[in-house]
């Protein structure tokens, strides 16, 4: 079974601030790491590889630094990493990112199964997986708890809906986005790190794609525009109470009474 996992390098913390003068993110000193949700997708892929044989490739899009998350996936047990890196991809929104990934995937090979994390911790949209599936012309299921079994030409998954869990059969190839805590991701293996060093990642760019039209990528291929970014609003209507615990309690009780909660 040929499996591909889409992963992303994200800031190590979401505690980023907006520079109010320039309206851009302050990024100094912010470390990068693998998007947490992608770890569940990699683990699911490695479980399937063990059960059914085959290979696990990982793909990401980003600057050269993003190589680090591919290496991490390789040390976890993936076989091959693909880094899509090109300045022309700058400013890509969901649509352009998904299209780029689909092009990169088509360059990389034919897969039976594509796995993604449910969402990223920086963008939080959970949309890139489904849009990529659309561009690849395959079925997808989001919020997958578990891949139950793989058969000839199909697989069975558990899908986590709000009020129910659905068991679905899907044709192969297809794309799944994995739910948080779907499994316990393994740690990268030190032994593999020693063996592999920094080998195993191929870097591709727009010139490798079937569609080389720059108007489909990056900011040019993005229908949305970020007009501005700004820090979230703070509630200004506030009243502070300080003093003895007994007095505080009295004020609190009074407040609850006035508002008819007691």
């Amino acid at each position: 079974m040929k499996i591909l996992v889409c992963i992303k390098q994200v800031p190590g913390t979401t505690a980023v601030e907006v520079d109010e003068k320039t309206g851009t993110l302050k990024r100094e000193g912010v470390e990068s790491k693998m998007n947490l949700f992608d770890l569940y997708a990699i683990e699911q892929a490695l479980i399937l590889k063990k059960q059914y044989g085959g290979t696990v490739d990982v793909i990401t899009m980003g600057p050269d630094q993003a190589r680090a998350v591919l290496m991490e996936a390789l040390y976890m047990g993936a076989d091959r990493g693909i880094l899509i890196s090109d300045r022309a991809l700058a400013g890509a929104d969901v649509l352009a990112t998904s299209y780029t990934l689909a092009q990169g995937i088509q360059w990389s090979g034919e897969y039976d199964l594509i796995l993604c994390g449910k969402q990223t911790t920086d963008g939080d949209t959970a949309q890139v997986g489904p849009e990529t599936a659309e561009f690849l012309g395959m079925e997808h299921v989001s919020n997958v708890l578990k891949v139950l079994k793989v058969e000839e030409g199909s697989l069975e998954v558990l899908e986590n809906q709000e009020n129910e869990v659905r068991r679905l059969q899907l044709p192969l190839p297809c794309l799944l986005t994995m739910e948080k805590d779907a499994n316990t991701p393994r740690l990268p293996s030190y032994k593999r790190k020693l063996e592999m060093g920094d080998r195993g990642v191929e870097v591709i760019s727009l010139k490798d794609f079937k569609d080389k039209d720059t108007s489909h990528y990056g900011a040019n291929g993005s229908p949305t525009r970020v007009e501005r970014i700004f820090p979230p609003e703070k509630n200004t209507a506030r009243q502070m109470y300080e003093g003895e615990p007994k007095d505080l309690a009295a004020s609190l009780g009074q407040l609850l009474k006035e508002r008819k909660f007691i």
Partner: protein
């Protein structure tokens, strides 16, 4: 759109050093006396705003403008399961009415499923001008491709300017599929939506776990897709008199085709749902031991509240993960929330700032939670809460005696 142009003739070593230093993404490099922009570029344009003037410029490229007057109406995907609407639908309709009023656009609802007549009629009580109804045995269960085909068919035939979808599990699967088909923009989890007179939808959404708000537009594509989470907007009021019309729609046979099969549907055990609670008592790291939770439990019981917590207490194993408020947990919008010993990380605050009344108790007067709280009590919960409980109990006893 356009691209960044580097004017190499202005680049000296000093200039290059400055330019390399100001890029927040380390995407600018200087090699062999040439300044280069690498793949890390996010087109944030800080290098233009703050850099040495003229070294990097933004070159506009004209793209053909679409005719926005051909796209009219604010459409809502009226998600239903087994004959009842997801409650987010009423909230989307409420907002759709406001957006539509700006440019006198109609409000549309798109309904897909089986046996939809009562649902379609119900929608006419919520200010919908037209309900487009895909009613078929083959749409009885939500399967992605037939539903995506229905929504695509609606957009192709009706040309709405805006397509609103609930940010539910189904909506988050459906909206991106269809948005990709139209190669249009999709903005997830919008918290503010405003309509411009040129029919552009201003979409504001949190990113980076709610630490940043981004204002996004889709200036040259239609329809403008957005998803909205449950409990973000106020629900539309039900009107006594129905008005508007129901338009039956349908797909060709191939439109219903899918190789996906629903094998089994199991209801999840009735979940603890803090998202539905009207009153919440939330606890954080100010609670020193698991045993001390009794204090909070007692307060919750006295107020008829649900107990909730911050992430560290989930990690400590003190609570079921479903009781976590915050970006990695639930978003709540109760009438009252009392936070005890919670410092108020942005992730937590993002999950509860919509509450009507926020009361915070914390020992640290500089705790972030006090920026969000309507009423802040600087004090030790271990000292304050027992007194509050006494008062509540005394009050009850007093009432019983009367």
């Amino acid at each position: 759109m356009g691209y960044l142009k580097i004017h190499q003739e202005l680049v000296t070593k000093d200039v290059a050093e400055k330019m390399c230093g100001i890029c927040p993404f380390d995407a600018i490099s200087y090699e062999d006396n040439r300044l280069e922009i690498g793949a890390g570029c996010k087109l944030c344009r800080v290098c233009i705003k703050n850099g040495v003037p003229g070294v990097i410029t933004y070159e506009e490229e004209k793209e053909e403008a679409i005719d926005k007057s051909l796209w009219k109406g604010i459409a809502v995907f009226a998600e239903q399961e087994a004959g009842s609407f997801h409650p987010v639908v009423y909230e989307l309709l409420g907002k759709a009415g406001e957006l539509a009023a700006v440019n006198h656009h109609p409000v549309y609802a798109v309904l897909a499923g089986c046996g939809l007549e009562p649902l379609a009629e119900e929608l006419l009580h919520y200010g919908v001008d037209k309900v487009f109804c895909y009613d078929s045995e083959k749409l009885k269960e939500f399967l992605l491709l037939p539903y995506a085909n229905a929504l695509e068919d609606f957009i192709t035939r009706v040309h709405p300017s805006v397509m609103m979808v609930g940010a539910t599990v189904k909506g988050r699967s459906l909206a991106p599929r269809v948005a990709a088909r139209f190669r249009t923009g999709l903005t997830a989890d919008c918290t503010v939506l405003e309509m411009k007179e040129n029919t552009d939808l201003v979409q504001i959404r949190p990113a980076f776990g709610g630490n940043i708000m981004a204002q996004i537009v889709t200036p040259n594509s239609r329809p403008q897709f957005c998803t909205v989470r449950y409990k973000v907007f106020a629900a539309a009021e039900r009107r006594q008199e129905p008005c508007g019309e129901i338009v039956p729609m349908g797909l060709t046979e191939t439109g219903y085709e899918t190789k996906a099969r629903l094998l089994e549907k199991r209801e999840k055990p009735k979940e603890i749902d803090i998202a539905e609670a009207e009153v919440i008592v939330a606890v954080g790291r100010g609670i020193k031991s698991k045993n001390d939770l009794r204090l909070a439990e007692e307060l919750a019981k006295a107020l008829g509240a649900q107990l909730a917590c911050t992430r560290p207490l989930i990690e400590a194993g003190w609570f079921d993960a479903r009781r976590q408020i915050g970006l990695s947990g639930r978003t709540v919008k109760p009438k009252l929330i009392i936070t005890l010993g919670i410092s108020g990380s942005v992730q937590f605050v993002a999950g509860m700032k919509g509450a009507d009344c926020i009361i915070a108790v914390n020992t640290d007067p500089h705790a972030g939670i006090f920026d969000t709280a309507h009423y802040g009590f600087v004090g030790d919960l271990y000292e304050v809460i027992p007194h509050v409980l006494e008062m509540i109990h005394a009050g009850r006893k007093g009432m019983e005696r009367d």
